[in-house]
Symmetry: C3
Subunit: 239 residues, 3 copies
């Protein structure tokens, strides 16, 4: 195509200015056309051919760039979709981690012993035992001055009580969830046996605000020194 055009155009050149010398140019063309046109026209034609060649190169490069761009756009679109998906999954993971961490951070653990000397009781009315010597109270759910544990979160909790008591009176402790008796421990009075021990334990499902405490019934007693008679509990698992 290029040489066809060149041929016709050079033919035109030779008709108008056939006597021109083409040696002035160092651009390589075939010897047949070299002497057929003026060097100026030849330059123009060659330049023209060079432009056409450049255009072809540019078109090829542009086509290539467009293809690569199209490919990049497709990959970018795919990456954006994957990124969006990853962000959604990451957010979900973060929420789950936050939930796990919150559960892990929610610590409710206490141990307390009755704090005194000699017997607690017997009293002439049922009495909530106040375990005044707080050994551990992570989360502060146990009330040192009330003896009442109040669930800070819904969950399953473990409670355990132990007592020691002299034998002259009945030793008896009742563990309540709100106003409901859950477990107890007691022993009969005995003149011949100097002392009694008892204990119990229970897992309880509690709602937030539920109260757990230990009652000493009328006319019973427990030993009140710092190390025998204890009340402990912890949050096993949030619901």
């Amino acid at each position: 195509m290029k040489f066809t055009v060149l041929f016709f155009v050079l033919l035109f050149c030779s008709l108008t200015l056939a006597q021109e010398d083409a040696n002035a140019t160092d651009i390589e063309i075939n010897s047949q056309t070299q002497s057929a046109c003026s060097p100026d026209m030849c330059d123009l034609l060659m330049k023209f051919g060079a432009i056409e060649e450049k255009l072809r190169v540019i078109e090829t490069r542009l086509k290539d760039s467009e293809t690569r761009l199209q490919d990049s756009e497709t990959r970018l679109k795919d990456s954006e979709t994957r990124l969006k998906d990853s962000e959604t999954r990451l957010k979900d993971s973060e929420n789950q981690i936050m939930d796990l961490r919150n559960k892990e951070r929610t610590k409710v653990i206490f141990s307390a012993a009755v704090d005194g000397s000699g017997h607690i009781g017997p009293f002439n009315t049922d009495t909530t035992v106040i375990y005044g010597r707080v050994i551990t109270n992570i989360g502060g759910a146990y009330g040192q001055y009330t003896g009442i544990f109040t669930a800070p979160v819904a969950g399953v909790y473990y409670f355990t009580i132990f007592y020691h008591a002299g034998g002259s009176h009945e030793g008896k402790l009742l563990l309540f969830k709100n106003h409901q008796l859950m477990i107890m421990t007691h022993d009969q009075p005995s003149d011949s046996d100097g002392a009694d021990n008892g204990g119990n334990a229970v897992f309880l499902e509690l709602q937030q605000g539920d109260q757990v405490y230990v009652r000493l019934p009328t006319n019973t007693h427990v030993w009140g020194t710092n190390y025998h008679t204890t009340f402990s509990g912890f949050l096993v698992s949030q619901i």
Copy 2:
């Protein structure tokens, strides 16, 4: 280069049509060549120059675009690699979270008390104690009607038992893992002491399906009201 070509071409113009007037065009060219060619040829040459200029601009822009495209492709490749890596890590994190959540969700917690009035036993054969008053049974691993706890998953479990018994017979409870005695609690009969208390606790590694239960041996008894004699346990940690 451009002006050399222009010069030769315009020289050719002046040889063929030297009398033409070039004032019709407003494109600025040097005054020496302005009068050397016909306005039509000049237009063509200027147009030619403009095309060359356009080509140069296009080539520059194309080169720039190709560079930017190359850069974008590199960055895209890098992003894809990082995205792939993030997706792998995210998947791994999700699996770990799922594992943690499954462990957190696997709750096995129970408490039950014997459910009756007066004594359970003495019997003339060893008997599995059925703690019929279920207080808590998260995960349903404790069998209310069999007294048998069956581990739903492998793990370390905590078990604790407490009993109360009148003194007229021996009070005795044995805690078994499958057919193996693990811990016990008992007290001698006593005519002078009206009642006995006992308890024990143990952490046991269990495989899925392992059974834990409490046996009342021949000729022993425990007190059977709802609050004294209890059996509790929970899954501390999955293995």
Copy 3:
């Protein structure tokens, strides 16, 4: 613009070679100029026009590509920013998961019973009870030959002890954290009551290396068979 140039150029053609026949070309141009130039010059001019058209197309495509490239670069930049953000969040999540998993993996759980026959004690000095029958010792924190539990990590731990003892001597056990008495259980000797039971439990905050053990005071005893007198504990929660 294009046709203006074409018009002037074709006018020039007609002045020099007016008798040429332009029917050889099938490229459509207006009938006025069709017969005004030589077919060679017309070819050149048409080719010129085609180049200009190609340039316009190329410029349009290049402009379009540049716009798309600009858009892609913006999106890529945005994706990189989001990816960077996701990577940061992912790293943070991984650290939190690692922390949770480490806590979940840090298992400290033990149960042991005294291992012998007949009574342990009475001794003429306070003695640390060695619970030689290790039932469970996940984490290896309990020393089978020393009777001493050493906290491997800071945390809140649960400990529980149970004992059985004949009535001829005082039964008594003291649970220490380092050198500090935390809880105890004991019963008076009794000639008329054949045996005594006792137990207690406590949650203790321990620092890494803190030691917890059980002491049998001077002139007291506990029953030493494998199943009655036990010492158990577990890590409830790392601090």
